[in-house]
């Protein structure tokens, strides 16, 4: 279960590696139907990344966050030791979203209309149960708002506005931009991933490599 989404990211990478072939690809009908429902409204949204920890922490890391069972496992089972470094003021973690499917695109876009101070809580809720993302992705693209709304409910955004956010070209463009920056900067499309100093840790199966990278970075700063 923990490895379910690895092949998806590989598929994306393969497409990027063969742009000539990809140009001939047709947009599948479900995507056409979805995208035709998108709006160009000018909707204010939170374009800032989630920052966990003290802004002056000696080490800054990046958490590439996906709506996947793997990210769910990481946040729910292996995050406590990382949180200790955050709470102690040693680590600042910048969270960046990595959409793996068009379900994720809609979800991350919807979350951008939640108040910035609640953004991390919504992301945590979205992966609090590893089945949430799986259920959403087993359903059609058009039905994604039903699943996303259940993750957003209670965060001060009415359903009608939430759906407009999920399918807004500017907000979805912002989510896609994050995917491009992660791919172009750190060369990965795998979520979860962590970047600590010069170390890229993709799809970790425990927190040990992350903690080691944090402690190595702290030692490097101390020298």
């Amino acid at each position: 279960m923990h490895r379910t989404f690895r092949w998806i990211t590989l598929a994306i990478s393969m497409a990027a590696a063969f742009p000539a072939a990809a140009q001939d690809a047709e947009v599948p009908e479900p995507v056409r139907q979805l995208v035709e429902k998108f709006n160009d409204d000018e909707i204010p949204f939170n374009d800032k990344p989630v920052i966990l920890g003290n802004e002056n922490a000696p080490v800054t890391g990046v958490f590439v966050f996906g709506l996947s069972e793997n990210t769910s496992w990481m946040v729910n089972r292996a995050f406590s030791s990382i949180k200790k470094h955050i709470k102690s003021g040693q680590l600042k973690l910048v969270v960046i979203e990595m959409p793996l499917t068009w379900h994720d695109m809609q979800a991350f876009a919807g979350f951008r209309c939640v108040a910035p101070e609640k953004h991390w809580a919504v992301l945590e809720d979205a992966v609090s149960n590893p089945r949430y993302a799986g259920r959403m992705k087993n359903d059609s693209l058009m039905n994604a708002p039903d699943h996303i709304w259940s993750m957003m409910r209670g965060n001060g955004v009415e359903r009608e506005k939430a759906e407009r956010c999920m399918r807004n070209t500017a907000i979805v463009g912002h989510i896609e931009a994050q995917r491009r920056v992660v791919k172009d900067t750190w060369g990965t499309e795998i979520a979860p991933s962590f970047i600590i100093g010069d170390k890229l840790i993709t799809d970790p199966t425990s927190d040990s490599a992350i903690i080691a990278a944090i402690e190595s970075a702290l030692k490097g700063n101390a020298q």
Partner: protein, 67 residues
């Protein structure tokens, strides 16, 4: 079935993202011009947002991001 559904979802994203560069062009069937136009807009927004995202990451000291 679950694996198939996930595989399809992944393929959907692959196809759309790879199509962004030329979507909305003259070769698109007339019935899909609405989708092509939207895809083109998403792509334009993404190109602009890349600069914003990089700037915000740099401001926050993300490793590997040059200001």
């Amino acid at each position: 079935m679950k694996a198939l559904a996930i595989r399809l979802s992944g393929a959907v994203l692959v196809c759309l993202l790879s199509a962004t560069a030329h979507a909305g062009g003259g070769s698109a069937p007339s019935s899909s011009m609405g989708a092509g136009s939207k895809i083109e807009k998403i792509n334009k927004h993404a190109v602009k947002s890349v600069l914003v995202v990089r700037q915000l990451l740099a401001q926050n000291g993300a490793p590997g991001i040059k200001p």
